[in-house]
Symmetry: C2
Subunit: 716 residues, 2 copies
């Protein structure tokens, strides 16, 4: 049988053959002057796979396509003509066979991303009840990554043994119990002077009233905090223009600290809230002790937005159920959806954050579960909160890029209502207010109103572009409304101020929408995404639980020209809000800065292990292991312990090549790690079950990946 | 302020307004003769949003595009000319600005899916260490859904309280402990007469040696089984041509039942295995007691494939580490990747499944952890297993569509090796074998060899099309090899039999590949997907943990014409294998058959609750709740219990409209449900923490979705 191999391999030993193949691998990589494993670039590979004749043909065709399309014809001769016909027939055949319209062709060419080309924008979308964050490239609308936040996720080794991730998840415990999922709603990219800076991402968990911090150097969750005064939330997260504060607004009123009190005491005992989390860039963590909350009336606060530029230092939140409905349809009360919709007006909450921070700093707080809370009486006394009437069960309260206008969408009113910050300040200065039952001043509606624009049924949320347009999602119409802003924005668009310009149908039941850099002081325009809640007939049937539908829209134009480009199914949770940042503002690490890096502390791990330093030490019934991982073996390959031992296990991935991640899977013990290049991970467990366990690399790393394994032997 | 509304709304009460808006909503839906919520079709919406003039322009343009492309020019006049130029300039501007090549344009138009158009094929891909299954539409390569299998997933309400899902996950316990993740490798679609029937999907968990059953009526996981004799696996799942058996092959040898034994006893005590799970379509479950395993020599069995047609009743598995290397690089032994690569040949395992089933049926088994296992001596005695030499550390063993050839890829040999089933049968009949150290007969290599084809470095896995071509993934070359089959397939292709025809570079380090219906007796060809392990430079940087890269390839041609169409990032786990089925073979339910359906039993739930039947009953300290969910309220809206009560809670979603799913989130108690139209779910918990908890619908269901909430009051 040796003859089979004499043709192909001449090394004396099989190990030699292995080395030969591996070195071919290396040589190939070096030849293309890349790190091992990176292989050829797209250009190189395109060149390789096309015979030269075809390349020339394509060159000719490329030129001819332009001729043909601009109708400058009759000039092509002989083989050129043939070539033109060839390509024409190919393209034409595809267009005919697939029944593509001119709009489809345009959309396809605007969204298709050739192999190796990178998207212009990155969208961070909440993952809704998945508890995660979705990272999506635009305009291709490809899901680049799911970042594990509130829900354990084994591919990332998040919550399956790795010490740092277990600590992060433990931070999210409620009443001392693990809560291993979340309902993520509103991601917020960190800002510098009102522009996204791409350093951190924040997101809330509506279901359990929690906020999380993600470090965009490695796209990993570093911190989860439970809100100590509210069991759930909604109007978060948003950040102030320099990310000093991460805002978490409330939703369903409950007694502070969600302590028991009968619904009969709703008006007296139940409260709304808003929490301001102090963020420290240096440590990349929220500072719990420097954070504070405000006790609010038991209205259901909804979305908030931070002021910017002229309104910097102020925060604006919508609210509903100012009716104080408590439901109980089973007892003949109006159901919540009717009871909370009776009044023509709810209240826009206008909060003086700068002053509130001073009051909290000066000790004007009470303690609730050990957390600083400014009580309502102090809020009223210090003038930290004003209310303005807003029609009608609003969802979004969105601040324009110049900080001057606050746009409110009353979901049961066909208008968007625009408030002027200048007029709000004048009204506050003028004084002489009515107050609500809690003594909070109510500004006169007409005195703070700038404009109302009739946009359609079910307006929810508004975004902005760079051409003086605002875009409002219409849930009941299943449409996006484009309308004009006035004031500073008047000169940017040809149409009259404060008027509806265009409506585009979406599919279906849009919730939020997001524009490129749409929450900053300088939006980019170009693209808008409709975050649709229902998909119905848009995609192939995948059972009774359907995906949602993100629709990419081209807004890089004016007037009645919004163009639907792409339908992206989201079969992984129900996103609520998203933010979109220019890709070149992100600069994540390709590999960790040094071998032995601890991503939890973003510094060297005390148990970092280099090649040759691997060891196993026993101390009583505690066994500590220092292991390395490199293509393609773990050292040590044998670990022998005894049933009942406590194991402390450190693994360092000593690789420096981009993408050379190793996994570590241990059967039966619910342990899986993702160890990125340079990373050191520690995990601990009790060896309660004797037997033979094969640990192995769970991230395909080389041709001999399946051989990257070892035996854990646990003696009875 | 009333004046503001007199312009827009004339209903006497706010509740009236609400009803008006809702009824507009309904009316709109009815007008488009769809279920409420379905809204306009794509065609309708396209029409609505385009002014008539633009439509006419497009019609003209549509015609002209064809003229232009087939170079039939000079005929267009006046406004037509202008129109043509308009479109020409738009398309040309996009092509120029984005630097698209003719190949890119072709690929874009082949893969773009206009809004509302459905994909032709559905790919079920393993989710690797995510523990899940990915559902992907082809050719658009859009992720339609992630099916939760081994890992709890809150969007689907899988493992967060819902009784049926908790039972499924408990079935996967190891040593009585929860293992809440998996390393899914090889999905298998159920087959009828060797063709995918789209009824069920099976998948294994390599890390913990488990198999799962997914019901494709609702795309939900119904069963997880722990393999009782092996702690991990690899060569599964594959099914026999009529899905009588689900195959789970082994990987790393260990004593049966993974009981402790020193590695010094490797040859005597350690064993490989293969398990045949008996599947019952009626119940949609694997029948544990009718299943059995075979004790195999301690080689590391790798991928398996079931015979079909002529080879029906037989199973073929590759293997490596026939060297019996046990590693221990830290003690100066060769590392596994070298130790397991020393021999020129490993062994293809040829298993007579039909006969083995008879032997198991007849009681020729021993019990290991209460499971039927045919011991090695019986296997030898009964002639259930033959070995054939195979070069060299093979990965794939793939049976051709006619069942006659078995293609083996020795990952350290540049050839694929093709075995003839006819020759195997002749060799078995001829007898007179050598045996391995365990007495298993070894067939003479040359006597069973049909052909060897040199394809390149690192061949791993092979798929087939409808034109007589085979496609082999080349890990080290980062390429796909197209080569010709002989025998029955000879007439289907113009090239010589058993020869390499084309190689296409992929990006990078391809593991498996999959062709449309590529594992059936009648593959479709058309599309091939390269499941690449490394992405490196293909996508925008999202940190040290990179996505994988699925590349769609057009194989609907012959010769040197494979065309790379699309790069799909997989940032959600590392898929290993996938299968692709024609979309029209799937017929999942849009909503559950009846109100009160239990998806776990696929029958009516005993606690199904209709509108008006809602109630709360106390029995000692057990409180039982029967609740309904409908847009937009839960009934009851108040639940008052006492600290320490045990709660049994049933919720029925009485909706019948497609896509009208409701979620149910309960703060602090780690409970989240997805209740699809018609579904009834039961969950239980102990009310250990007093307080006020707002439960709410976590699936955005209407304009008043935020009002779909209620209060759980737990008295101290």
């Amino acid at each position: 049988m040796a003859t089979i191999f004499s043709e192909t391999l001449s090394r004396p030993t099989a190990f030699g053959e292995l080395m030969q193949i591996m070195s071919l691998d290396q040589a190939h990589a070096i030849a293309t002057s890349k790190k091992p494993g990176t292989r050829t670039t797209k250009e190189e590979s395109e060149t390789m796979r096309r015979p030269r004749s075809t390349q020339i043909l394509y060159l000719v065709i490329g030129l001819l396509l332009v001729f043909a399309v601009v109708s400058a014809c009759g000039q092509a001769e002989g083989s050129d003509q043939a070539a033109s016909v060839d390509l024409g027939e190919e393209i034409d055949a595809i267009v005919q066979e697939r029944g593509l319209t001119p709009d489809d062709i345009s959309a396809a060419l605007q969204t298709y991303m050739p192999s190796g080309e990178h998207d212009d924008y990155i969208m961070f979308a909440s993952g809704g009840q998945s508890g995660q964050v979705l990272v999506i490239g635009m305009p291709s609308m490809r899901l680049l990554k799911v970042i594990a936040v509130f829900t354990p996720e084994p591919w990332q080794g998040y919550g399956y043994g790795a010490e740092g991730t277990m600590e992060v998840l433990a931070g999210g415990q409620v009443s001392g119990q693990d809560v291993l999922w979340g309902d993520t709603h509103h991601p917020a990219i960190s800002e510098t002077e009102g522009d996204y800076d791409g350093q951190f991402l924040f997101i809330n968990d509506k279901a359990n009233g929690r906020v999380a911090v993600i470090d965009l150097r490695d796209f990993e969750t570093k911190q989860i905090l439970k809100n100590p005064i509210a069991v759930n939330d909604h109007g978060g997260t948003m950040v102030t223009p320099n990310t000093e504060w991460v805002i978490e607004g409330g939703q369903y009123a409950a007694p502070l600290g969600w302590e028991y009190s009968s619904l009969d005491n709703y008006a007296e005992d139940y409260r709304g809230m808003i929490t301001f989390w102090k963020f420290d860039r240096e440590s990349g963590r929220i500072q719990y002790d420097e954070s504070f909350a405000m006790e609010l009336p038991p209205y259901w606060q909804d979305l908030c937005d931070a002021g910017k530029l002229v309104s910097d230092g102020w925060v604006f939140c919508g609210s509903f159920n100012t009716e104080l409905a408590t439901g109980g349809v089973e007892d003949g009360n109006p159901p919540f959806e009717a009871g909370a919709s009776q009044r023509d007006m709810d209240y826009l909450h206008i909060i003086n954050l700068e002053r509130a921070a001073e009051v909290a700093q000066a000790g004007g707080t009470i303690e609730v579960n050990g957390f600083n809370v400014i009580p309502l009486d102090v809020i009223v006394e210090e003038g930290l909160l004003y209310l303005a009437p807003e029609p009608k069960s609003p969802h979004g309260a969105d601040v324009t890029p110049n900080g001057e206008y606050i746009v409110v969408s009353g979901k049961l009113d066909p208008h968007v209502t625009v408030y002027s910050f200048t007029k709000i300040q004048e009204a506050i200065a003028a004084g002489g207010f009515e107050t609500d039952d809690y003594g909070v001043p109510i500004l006169d509606f007409d005195s703070v109103l700038e404009a109302q624009v009739e946009v359609g049924l079910g307006p929810l949320h508004t975004q902005f572009d760079n051409q003086g347009y605002a875009y409002t999602s219409l849930f009941l119409d299943s449409a996006v409304a484009r309308w004009t802003l006035g004031g500073d924005f008047s000169d940017l668009h040809p149409e009259e101020d404060w008027t509806l310009v265009d409506k585009l149908n979406v599919h279906y039941n849009i919730g939020h929408l997001v524009a490129a850099e749409g929450d900053t002081v300088s939006p980019d325009g170009r693209y808008l995404v409709a975050l649709n809640k229902w998909a119905v007939d848009r995609f192939a049937n995948v059972g009774p639980l359907l995906p949602q539908n993100f629709q990419l829209i081209n807004i890089d134009n004016q007037g009645e020209n919004m163009q639907l480009l792409y339908d992206m199914p989201i079969g992984i949770g129900e996103p609520h809000y998203a933010q979109v940042i220019a890709a070149d503002k992100l600069s994540a690490w390709e590999v960790y800065p040094e071998v032995g890096w601890d991503p939890h502390t973003q510094s060297l791990h005390p148990d970092a292990t280099n090649l040759g330093e691997e060891r196993i030490e026993r101390n009583g019934n505690t066994v500590e292991i220092w292991m390395t991982a490199v293509r393609s073996h773990f050292t040590p390959e044998h670990v022998e312990i005894e049933e009942g031992d406590h194991i402390i296990w450190h693994i360092t991935n000593v690789e420096r090549a981009y993408d050379s991640t190793h996994g570590f899977s241990l059967p039966g013990y619910n342990i899986n790690l993702s160890i990125e290049p340079g990373e050191t991970i520690t995990f601990e467990f009790d060896a309660d079950f004797a037997g033979v366990y094969s640990y192995y690399c769970s991230e395909f790393c080389s041709a001999l990946h399946l051989e990257m394994t070892g035996y854990l032997l646990i003696q009875p």
